[in-house]
Amino acid sequence: MRLSNDKLRDALAAEYVLGTMSARARARFGVLLHSDPALRRAVADWERRLTPLAEALPESPPPARVWRRIHGRLFERSHTRGLWGSIAFWRFAALAAGAVALAIGLSSIDLREPAGQMVTIMSDVTTESPAMTVAWNADTPGGRVLRIRVIGHAEMAPDTAWELWMLPGGDKPPVSLGLITTHESQTLIVPESLAPRLDQAWGLAMSVEPEGGSPTGLPTGPVLYKGQCVRT
């Protein structure tokens, strides 16, 4: 898609900033933003116009744990990085893929987390090395917040999207959990209606799809990463 029409460009930028775009349209627009400086200017203009609205909201102080987590992530990483960076660890990982889930689960996840912590180490299906981790708290009411970490510097081909799938196990078909990015750290929300099935899922997979996601509701492109869900 190329935006030659200034008016269309401006209208789309306005809706992107306002937040009315559907998930698919937003994902497509995000791809365009990377390659279109005029579109980025249009978005910046609309941010300048509309964002002052937010100033009307009454302040709401976040709980203290938010700052502790931010501080922990930015300035106190050495205790988890040590293991991640160690060659011995990766040698061990390659030898004993089955044990890796537990090792990473213990090293990178706060031990104070309540029971029902789910973790999935997804491996690159060709190299078999760990490529992505997905963790969430199971057995709680409501939706699930998947905490996703992409390991290394993965790149997405132009005009494609990464779609995350839940593999229920048995003969049951995969169920889409949504589109993800190549960002090292990201979150994905899974609605409450899917939560019980997700907590029971056999595994997760990531496939390469056309931008905007699979048109059929089932994986259409190659599966790059795959892994089994483990309850810690």
Binding site: A14, G19, E192, S193
Partner: protein, 184 residues
């Protein structure tokens, strides 16, 4: 909290000053948490959004340009984008009932921002221009802005066809732009 204060803190963050980052958080987080709460409507998600946003702000402080945008505008845009990304849902069809109950929990009218907006320059102009729109245009734009509702969700919420909602928003935004640029 003045814009000058925030600009100075952001420029110190760009130099990796952790104390400046702590001060920036203390001054701006209550406002930004309110923004995240309003869109995600769940405390745990809003906390997640805030956490991701400040990590982003720290990493990208160097990219902030005071000539291009006010510091709060820049940070608010980061929070809103993270919130929309987090809300990104797998398939509209998978939502079913949970979406309906979510929509029902939103009040019919987003807060009228006018009163508190009448202080600052930019915000005051925005409030004046918003007030010139039709009632439907104002209402749909406010609901979209404050609660992050998509066209489809707005249509369900306001019980109007999708096309009508799109027209209200498109024309409303167009009028708003002309007004803000002093042409309407």
């Amino acid at each position: 909290m003045t814009p000058e204060q925030l600009i100075s803190l952001l420029s110190r963050c760009a130099l990796r000053d952790q104390q400046a980052f702590a001060d920036l958080y203390r001054l701006s987080a209550p406002k930004l948490f309110a923004v995240a709460m309003r869109i995600t409507r769940r405390k745990d998600w809003a906390e997640e959004v805030l956490q991701e946003s400040y990590v982003n702000i720290w990493h990208h402080a160097r990219a902030y340009d005071a000539r291009k945008s006010a510091p709060m505008t820049w940070m608010t845009a980061i929070v809103r984008n993270r919130a929309f990304d987090l809300l990104r849902r797998p398939r509209e069809t998978e939502l079913g009932e949970s979406q309906e109950s979510l929509l029902a929990s939103i009040p019919d009218d987003a807060p009228g921002p006018e009163e508190s907006l009448r202080q600052a320059g930019d915000a005051a102009r925005l409030a004046d221009c918003l007030a010139k729109l039709s009632e439907e245009q104002q209402r749909s734009i406010r609901l979209a802005f404050f609660y992050g509702l998509s066209h489809g969700e707005l249509a369900a919420k306001l019980d109007r066809p999708l096309g009508t909602i799109k027209t209200w928003i498109r024309r409303g935004l167009e009028r708003l732009r002309r007004c803000l640029e002093g042409m309407g």
